[in-house]
């Protein structure tokens, strides 16, 4: 199960790379891709764990990059 998100106010390429690495380690997330230029995020979730993993990913984005919003 794969979902796309828009990230706004993501304005540092290295932060994007770090965010991507951290999101990939979230429990229930099987793959994470942050497109710095397209300001997009793609998450792939393990079967049946979408909602908890998505909540964890949102919390992580809030913690790592407080200025960035994920829609």
């Amino acid at each position: 199960m794969r979902k796309h998100y828009r990230l706004s106010n993501l304005d540092c390429a290295n932060c994007a790379a770090k965010l991507e690495a951290a999101l990939g380690r979230v429990e229930g997330v099987t793959a994470a891709r942050v497109g710095f230029i397209t300001q997009s995020l793609t998450l792939e979730f393990a079967e049946g764990r979408e909602s908890e993993a998505e909540a964890a990913a949102r919390a992580l984005v809030r913690r790592l990059e407080p200025g960035v919003s994920m829609a």
């Binding site: 540092c12 891709r33 497109g35 913690r63």
Partner: protein, 618 residues
């Protein structure tokens, strides 16, 4: 400029003004106060972010390193330098954000094919709704100058469509009732009523946009290398800084202050931003440049594979050739002329739907008068027998002629399909129908060779003479005729092995029209699907999608891929080289914090500007 950027510009301006004011003030508390204010205005958010990240245990955070570098310089007594480092760091960050924003917008503008509204006829009146809310079967009204929001078929009206956004083709396409109206095209001249064939999510526009977003997500090896490099670069430079600060004084008895200052220059250039930003930006620019001209590259991985293509294998029908027959030669028998021969054949075949028959009718160009043709009998796999104005006419292959005892002159090695015609039992002449090469096919093959492709091969199920004629006229290096679909896959596999054997990094591209080609597309290093407007399977299976059906899109794609990779490599060399030079000069005490911060900011800006060149590749 966004609101955030304007705010940043104001902050930097105030910081610079305070900094300059400090220089004018006499040395003392006022001067230090001005500099401290400049530092606070410029660096407050950096200090705040670094505090936050350090509390989280993130030591190699560029905010933190910048804070250490600037505060360290102040601690060593160089107040102006500490403030300046922070100021110029912010100036650099601002320019970088600005340049990236510009790129983002110009790429977004290239792909600005997303329709906002659709005008639908509901209950006799036109209503404006979101494209997602339109169901198949409903009728759209598209005015001149508007973009077609969903895929459909023209019901009423005639117009010209600008397909440039999707295909890169600048010639407008004329449409009338019954013609396909792909979404994303702009209606140029007349009002069109269009029946919706597909919901928005499955329409061309939505699929193209989804592809481009996906493409940006797939990372190339060059990009993966940069990410990996960035991950070790910052810690390595920091460890280097520590060693530089501590070892010389401890081992060789150097002065602590001098070496601490040199170590700070390391911290200033410890952010790998220039690298991390410029490489994906180059790829994105290249992908954007290609998509503007109707070539979709599915991700950075295929940019790399495309740049190394040495062998190109083409499917023949529909790829190099039009996929439709045309009469190219007429050989009337004595007593008949070309016009008479075509007329007899066309009248007899006027009721047939066979592709060859359609070609004959089209070549004649006349209209059959009512009542002129009667008694039509089709002989399956052979041809047609009919009464044309009272004369018995046979049109078909050699077998049909033999069955009626008509003697034929020889036409050995005819480069196409031969249609024989007999009138009242006597041979009247022969027509040659061919699936003709596309107008730009020969130029595409030549362009591929100029782009460094060593071998071009055509695969076809057609008979040898026809295949040979096409291969020779296009200047291909080789061809294989009489192949079954499974044979094509085997050939692609074998040619791929041969390509590898010549050079391990060389790749093979297979170009097909996407119909029955999926296995070969998947097996090739680079699968190229052609004429994909409307064909889902092809878009799925391919790495490169040529939106229109011109083979010249492939050499373009290869040139763009090469250019993109070249720009990405330049940026890597530029960024790594400048950083290495500054590290060396800093360690030797030849470059101070000023030089370090200028080099770091400068290289990021230069790399970004260089990456922007990829947008203009062609």
């Amino acid at each position: 400029m966004t609101r955030k950027q304007r705010l940043g510009a104001v902050r930097i301006g105030v910081g610079l003004a305070l900094f300059a004011a400090g220089w004018c003030l006499p040395a003392g508390a006022w001067r230090l106060g001005a500099w401290a204010a400049a530092y606070a205005v410029a660096g407050a958010d950096v200090l705040w972010a670094s505090a936050r990240n350090v509390l989280r245990g993130e030591l190699f955070d560029e905010n933190f390193l910048m804070a250490v570098a600037s505060l360290g310089a102040m601690a060593l007594g160089d107040f102006a330098e500490g403030a300046a480092v922070m100021l110029f760091y912010q100036v650099g960050e601002w320019f970088q954000a600005y340049a990236v924003g510009r790129t983002r917008r110009s790429v977004a503008a290239l792909m600005d094919i997303r329709p906002d509204r659709a005008r639908v006829l509901r209950g006799g009146a036109a209503a404006e709704v979101a494209p997602e809310a339109v169901a198949p079967g409903e009728t759209l009204v598209v005015r001149p100058g508007e973009r077609i929001p969903l895929d459909g078929t023209v019901l009423r009206g005639r117009s010209a469509l600008d397909t440039a956004a999707l295909t890169g083709e600048s010639l407008p396409r004329a449409v009338g009732p019954g013609d396909a109206a792909p979404s994303g095209c702009v209606n140029l001249s007349g009002l069109l009523e269009i029946r919706v064939d597909r919901p928005y999510g499955e329409s061309t526009v939505a699929r193209v946009l989804a592809l481009v977003e996906e493409a940006a997500g797939r990372k190339a090896r060059t990009e993966a290398f940069i990410t990996a490099f960035a991950r070790v670069y910052t810690p390595a430079v920091c460890v280097g800084a520590l060693a530089l600060a501590a070892l010389p004084p401890l081992v060789a008895g150097g002065a602590w202050g001098v070496w601490a200052y040199r170590a700070l220059t390391f911290l200033v250039i410890s952010c790998p931003c220039a690298l991390v930003i410029s490489v994906p930006l180059s790829f994105f620019g290249g992908i954007g440049a290609a998509s503007r001209r109707g070539v979709l590259l599915k991700g950075s991985t295929c940019v790399e594979a495309l740049a190394r293509v040495r062998t190109v294998v083409f499917d023949k029908t529909g790829t190099l050739t039009r996929g439709a027959f045309a009469v190219t030669e007429a050989r009337p028998a004595p007593g008949f002329d070309r016009g008479r021969l075509l007329e007899l054949a066309a009248c007899a075949e006027s009721a047939s739907t066979h592709p060859l028959a359609r070609a004959v009718v089209a070549a004649w160009g006349g209209a059959v008068p009512p009542g002129a043709v009667s008694g039509v009998r089709e002989a399956a796999g052979q041809g047609v027998e009919a009464e044309v104005r009272g004369r018995r006419v046979l049109v078909g292959n050699a077998a049909l002629m033999a069955a009626h005892g008509v003697a034929l002159p020889p036409w050995p090695g005819a480069p196409g399909s031969v249609v024989h015609v007999a009138c009242d039992g006597a041979y009247a002449g022969s027509l040659l129908a061919r699936d003709e090469p596309k107008p730009d096919a020969a130029e595409a093959v030549a362009a591929l060779r100029r782009a460094g492709v060593r071998r071009t091969v055509m695969l076809t199920g057609d008979a040898e003479p026809a295949a040979r004629a096409v291969a020779q006229s296009l200047g291909l290096d080789g061809f294989r005729a009489g192949l079954l679909p499974a044979d094509k896959v085997a050939h692609v596999g074998r040619l791929r092995e041969e390509t590898r054997a010549e050079s391990p990094k060389a790749t093979l591209a297979f170009v097909g029209d996407g119909i029955n080609d999926a296995p070969a597309l998947a097996l090739a290093d680079v699968g190229v699907a052609m004429g994909a407007l409307g064909s889902d399977a092809a878009i799925e299976a391919a790495d490169v999608v040529l939106m229109d059906d011109r083979p010249s899109g492939l050499p373009l794609a290869i040139r763009v891929a090469r250019g993109t990779l070249r720009i990405a490599r330049q940026n890597i060399v530029l960024a790594v080289g400048v950083k290495a030079a500054v590290l060396a000069l800093g360690a030797l005490g030849l470059a101070g914090l000023w030089a370090a911060v200028f080099a770091d900011v400068g290289v990021a800006c230069l790399a970004t500007l260089n990456a922007l060149r990829a947008l203009r590749l062609r």
